[in-house]
Subunit: 231 residues, 2 copies
Amino acid sequence: MRSAYNELMAEALVVLSGGQDSTTCLFWALQQFDKVKAITFDYGQRHRIELDSARKIAELANVRHRILAIDTFSALGGNSLTTSDIPVPTDEEQDGLPSTFVPGRNLIFLTFAAAYAYQRNIQDLVTGVCETDYSGYPDCRQNTVEALQLAINLGMESHLRIHTPLMWLNKAQTVILAKEVGALDAMAWTHTCYNGQFPPCGDCAACVIRKRGFEEAGFEDPLLRRAAKSV
Amino acid sequence: MRSAYNELMAEALVVLSGGQDSTTCLFWALQQFDKVKAITFDYGQRHRIELDSARKIAELANVRHRILAIDTFSALGGNSLTTSDIPVPTDEEQDGLPSTFVPGRNLIFLTFAAAYAYQRNIQDLVTGVCETDYSGYPDCRQNTVEALQLAINLGMESHLRIHTPLMWLNKAQTVILAKEVGALDAMAWTHTCYNGQFPPCGDCAACVIRKRGFEEAGFEDPLLRRAAKSV
């Protein structure tokens, strides 16, 4: 997967949530760059288990990992991922933006990640956002990321590239990519369930999408194997 | 100053730092919009006196005011406005970016302000950034703000307008605008000094620029009048 132009692309920073997509990106980056660091945002997410997943996966991938706290979303309030009295939707039927939407969450994550990269002279940022399967989060789409990359580079006088290897893949293709880059074993430690459960609830929108992806790719989900063992 | 098109522009959110420029913008907004709110970011700035200024000015302007904490810049570190062991530059001679630069600080402020506005159905954001006198902060420039407005509107599926009434004014013109919009008395409570002093130190780059602006505009600085009384 490495090519000559990668010679110049020495170090990358991966935004690692502890989920399936960002874990795939982390292992993708390990193949693309000489050095890889990971950053995770502790923004008061209800499924705190994600942070443990991120730590474990960074350890498995043997990369330096920083968890950076962002308390401001909780102060802003108004969404079900950071406010515990709003119920999580149980299926994919949602009107407009999902109730798990934090306005601009991904804009903030990428801008803080860019600031962190800037301070370390890292010019490549990798994020697992995906338009094909963007689940109603408009700040995960290609045009948003392009506009933000421009705003960041103008605003920081930097030359940051934001890599989005999953942007146009569906979930099955992401699973196949995970296999190709050697991320499949680490999938056992990823967290996806919107209800924050291990073993995963299997019923929330996130669990359903993940399950379908593995089925279509034709692989067993290592997370479910680990879950079966733990019971 | 109001015109017919303002009929549709009912409510604005002003990013209020407690400084001279944002205070001018607050009073400008009061002339332009039916309703005005103000938001101030407590990002661990060394000159905490700014927060008191912002509170006092919002009170004088009789607008609802929210102070929102952003702890992440302190965690990122590496700049003299949030890290107390880095000396503040004493004059305007600086190589490249000033040491007071927090990479992407203004991108983050505007994005959080946009999220706050989004939740309240406010479509107009006002900020005192200024390209003429941008003091080396690239995220205060017109092209950065334009790119960010696009990123925000794509990322939040919103129709936010970011107003920058001071963008092309020099400091003297800003003082004249402050007079026109009735902000001059409130200037007595603004904070500018990089060293966080009241009475202002008079020697730091910020104090020098402010002093020159009032001199060129031909007005006495109400802050200095208040300072003289306080001694």
